[in-house]
């Protein structure tokens, strides 16, 4: 009997139909006990909080599925006429992490190992989960205990981080809307200002020549992690435009050195241990 990967679509919030997960769960087989309980990866494609990339969805999911993870692509509420104001993206991403942990048995994953990988604006959302997970309103809204939405680790690919000097204005404007010029609102989503010792460990990478999201976003987050003593690994490649995804030729990346990041991230994740409890101290 052949055991295949299951893929299915999961709605996340009753009143927000644009937020759902595409789940890829490796088939179980007596030959592959690893598949009984894999680690999980939530993938958040980018798109400036306006649209969502495809190159940062399936290619990423397939890469980490092949590396032994069950993978979950988050599709979230963005676009014309859609209410994407902060903190709705963080609510939806938190609901995704909660769903994965709640259904760990059915999804064949270990709830202690839920990594979140985000690209560009999706990197902002992943890093927001890493830094701003501790939120009483979101816990109440989702009926969730504190820490339940905290990622085991975050993997940030050319992330949007800051709403200040080095901001990718489009992404920040799309989550702040009417508050886009309010200094305090911009600071509230500038994640380099919110790193503490409780921030999730991070693997981050970008290209120096990113023409869309200044590389200083990645450097600022790394500096904040270094100052707070949070474990991290970082790679800045010397050449390449924005949005290189997994760095392979078939997603349009002409610089072969960039593809090294996925193997490095896989090695890095193997070294990351979860907190002793689901509620980190």
């Amino acid at each position: 009997m052949i055991t295949d990967t299951k893929s299915f679509q999961i709605p996340l919030l009753a009143d927000r139909p644009l937020a759902y997960l595409i789940a890829y769960v490796a088939g179980k087989s007596a030959e592959m006990p690893h598949n009984e309980k894999r680690k999980a990866m939530l993938i958040i494609p980018g798109g400036a909080y306006w649209m969502q990339s495809d190159a940062e969805a399936d290619p990423v999911a397939h890469t980490f599925l092949a590396a032994g993870y069950n993978t979950f692509i988050l599709r979230y509420s963005v676009g014309r006429g859609v209410d994407s104001r902060w903190p709705w993206p963080l609510v939806e991403a938190s609901a995704a992490v909660k769903y994965i942990r709640d259904h760990a048995d059915e999804l064949c994953i270990d709830p202690d190992y839920v990594f979140v990988s985000g690209f560009s604006a999706g990197g902002h959302l992943a890093a927001a989960l890493g830094t701003l997970w501790d939120n009483d309103e979101i816990e109440q809204m989702l009926g969730m205990e504190k820490g339940y939405n905290r990622p085991t680790g975050t993997i940030l690919s050319y992330p949007v981080i800051s709403g200040l000097t080095y901001a990718h204005r489009g992404s920040i404007n799309n989550i702040l809307r009417a508050d886009r010029d309010d200094e305090e609102a911009r600071r509230s989503v500038s994640l380099e200002l919110h790193v503490t010792e409780k921030t999730a460990p991070a693997f981050l990478w970008a290209t120096r020549t990113d023409e869309a999201v200044p590389v200083q976003n990645t450097l600022l987050y790394a500096k904040a992690l270094a100052d707070a003593g949070v474990p991290f690994e970082m790679h800045i490649y010397p050449r390449g435009p924005h949005a290189l995804s997994i760095g392979k030729a078939y997603v349009g990346c002409p610089y072969p050195e960039v593809a090294a990041w996925t193997a490095d991230a896989i090695r890095w994740m193997e070294s990351i241990r979860p907190n002793a409890t689901k509620n980190p101290v």
Binding site: R208, V215, L219, E233, H235, I236, Y237, R239, E257, S271
Partner: protein, 271 residues
């Protein structure tokens, strides 16, 4: 008939016999045309400006020799006796760059491609070559035209850069001696000296470096990014200070942190 690489110890400055360049030059033969003219790399070992560490000297030269570079290890002025050491190490490194370029034919080197690599305090010196090469006094002292000491690119290995960051005040105490003035400190904090003239850089560090904080590398990279200077950077997740090649020869093994030695070759070959 065998062709061997030659190793030669060359004194650089008549009044400083302790300052030497050890040259590793690949042997030439008509069947190895590549060796007629290689790219060069000047190696600046660490040692807290108190000495030059062997773990960052010959093993590094061998690695780059094997990768197709002719390699030159500089023993520079160290261990001040209370007088400011600076700018002697920068003079020594500039004299080394000048020697390599002056003798390019004899050393089988392309003078247009002379890189510098520094470790720890040697990384500070390499970052100083990258940012402070444009110096009238040094040019006059060495009888050299402007730019002649500018490296094509620098590789900074767990470098000291900034006096503002706690994490290696011992090195700076040596180089500035009793001079505690802020402008002197700022003048040797290389993240403050980055400009549009700064040479491109490849930077690497381990996050858990207990000797020189990873923040030295992060602030330098931020300055490079702000000035649009090309760079590549890798921060590995784990490892103490001074891991050099992170292999059997130097007796170190930390996750991923041997990749730098191959990535920087790819980076240098892209120039």
């Amino acid at each position: 008939m065998f062709t061997h690489h030659t190793t030669k110890v060359i004194p650089l400055l008549s009044d400083k016999p302790h300052v030497t360049l050890t040259a590793y030059v690949a042997g030439t033969d008509r069947t190895l045309p590549f060796n007629e003219r290689r790219r060069a790399i000047l190696i600046l070992p660490g040692g807290g400006y108190a000495g030059c560490a062997p773990i960052e000297s010959e093993p590094i030269a061998h690695h780059f020799l094997a990768a197709g570079f002719n390699a030159f290890v500089l023993e520079y002025t160290t261990a001040a006796t209370g007088d400011p050491l600076w700018p002697s190490p920068l003079v020594d490194a500039s004299a080394a760059m000048k020697y390599i370029r002056d003798h390019a034919d004899e050393l089988h080197v392309d003078p247009a491609y002379v890189f510098a690599i520094g470790f720890s305090a040697g990384g500070h010196l390499a970052s100083a070559l990258a940012t402070l090469w444009d110096n009238d006094e040094i040019e006059a002292l060495l009888g050299m035209e402007k730019g002649y000491n500018r490296p094509t690119g620098v590789i900074l290995s767990y470098p000291v850069t900034s006096l503002a960051i706690h994490g290696h005040t011992r090195s700076f105490a040596k180089i500035l001696g009793s001079d505690k003035r802020k402008e002197s400190q700022d003048a040797v904090s290389t993240e403050l000296q980055v400009s549009e003239k700064t040479a491109p850089a490849f930077i690497w560090h381990t996050r858990t470096d207990d000797g020189v904080s990873v923040r030295h590398s992060l602030v330098f990279a931020r300055a490079l990014a702000d000035h649009g200077i090309p760079f590549e950077m890798h921060i590995y997740p784990e490892g103490p200070h001074g891991i050099s090649l992170n292999n059997d020869i130097v007796g170190r093994s930390y996750p991923a942190a041997d990749a730098w030695a191959h990535d920087c070759v790819r980076w240098m070959k892209s120039f």
